[in-house]
Symmetry: C2
DNA sequence: CGAATGTTTGAAGGTGATCAAATGGGGTGG
DNA sequence: CCACCCCATTTGATCACCTTCAAACATTCG
């Protein structure tokens, strides 16, 4: 209670809503036939995951592409020294598992951050479909290309930004991604621990906590646990563009 | 001369050889028809670049995929604050420019580090080819997938490794890549400034210089300007796996 | 209610950045 | 051929940011 009172200026944030992406808005697009007749469903398996549940593990054979129908997942790589690092965050409508197409072997773990529904499209089915429909092949190429571009952006975040800039970039990125899916770019749930955020940003969880507190104290961000509200987006964007 | 004498234990390193990858060993594989009759050459343009010359610039329209026939190039992104960061290094046989397939717009600058010969395959030609040859489409998907996986690896380097580990990872990565192309994994040319290496690794050039000096003083690496020799690869690998 | 995990905040320490100086190397023009 | 300049590299000294260690409080779940 005392702690709650210290969070002065925090607005009452609306509760998260159970949400799922419509298949027409999903990145997979026509590669997925989930919305078609039941006859094709053998190729598109939909799996439910509880919070913290693992969808697949690095090193195991990969036989499908995945799309987030509902929920939020992370991709994490094992470190040579024994830890793990988060290398990807996937919200509804996102496709993941693209890093194992060449090797047919998972390069990361995929873990649900909250209750999820994940669509799995058999790789063999996708291959066959793309032989018949060049447009589908082109679409997957676009997806892959965007993933490469996104990864380059994250390299810049990790290589050139200060701690505060990384947290700002993280918040703005998630905000943009929610907006693309038709949800509020202003208020959303992080759905993950400070440790996960830190791992994704190359920071410790204490630093993440401190940076978020700084944004809060500046009046630019409202924080209630894992729920955030961007009170002053331009100010947060200015943090990013400030020469480091 | 005094400096040269301080480099105790340095072996006489062989001079770099003018080298180019054979088209059969190139990552592009059957996507490229450069080795075919002259009739197809309209689609595959080969361009010569001098050291420091720019192949393309971020933000400009992209109309081709690129492969390094000879030489060494870097990809760099512009930072919000006004600098640049190296996000990719391309040796002979490598394909690059995959990040602009979706947007048909270059996401990075591409700059030659040494004299280069670059093959440019028109995107329209590639698209048409892949409609006819599904195997070519599958091959490009493999390429893209490997790029995604490689980017994730670099995220780990930038997010979780110490300065010394990053330099070790950099040297081992280049060594492996030269080996794949049939060149010595032990002795090779970095072909770039310490500043470029630092930018790629999220470090300052002074730190890169210091870390390389440490590896040299440990007797694991011979350094002569931009030419290096891995004297004790297992020791350098041990630096990487040491828990950070 | 108690244990375990997550978050915030504080204090101290270390790694890498910054600032600075000297040497080396490559290129151009005298 | 040498002098000169410019850039790259090395190394040193100091500093700052982030990490590490620590404690208190919150939250969740059995």
């Amino acid at each position: 209670m005392i702690f709650r009172m210290k969070m002065a200026g925090i607005r009452e944030l609306s509760r998260p809503v159970a949400a799922q992406v419509s298949c027409t808005a999903c990145e997979l697009g026509r590669l997925c036939r989930a919305e078609m007749a039941a006859g094709d469903e053998a190729f598109v398996h939909r799996r439910r995951l509880g919070p913290g549940e693992t969808l697949f593990t690095a090193g195991t054979p990969q036989s499908a592409l995945y799309a987030v129908h509902a929920g939020f997942l992370k991709s994490a790589k094992h470190l040579p020294g024994g830890g793990t690092q988060v290398v990807g965050l996937h919200i509804m409508g996102d496709v993941f598992g693209l890093d194992g197409i060449a090797t047919r072997s998972h390069a990361t773990d995929a873990v649900a951050l909250v209750s999820c529904e994940v669509c799995a499209i058999a790789l063999g089915h996708a291959d066959a479909l793309m032989e018949v429909e060049p447009a589908s092949a082109a679409h997957l190429r676009s997806l892959l290309s965007r993933h490469v571009a996104r990864a380059d952006e994250q390299m810049v975040t990790l290589g050139s930004l200060t701690a505060q800039q990384r947290v700002a970039a993280f918040l703005l990125d998630l905000s943009d991604r929610w907006a693309v899916r038709g949800y509020s770019p202003r208020t959303f749930d992080l759905c993950m621990t400070r440790k996960d955020i830190g791992s994704y940003l190359g920071l410790t969880f204490e630093t993440v906590s401190r940076m978020m507190s700084e944004l809060r104290e500046a009046g630019w961000l409202a924080v209630d646990g894992r729920r955030v509200e961007l009170l002053d987006r331009p100010a947060i964007e200015a943090v990013l563009s400030a020469h480091s």
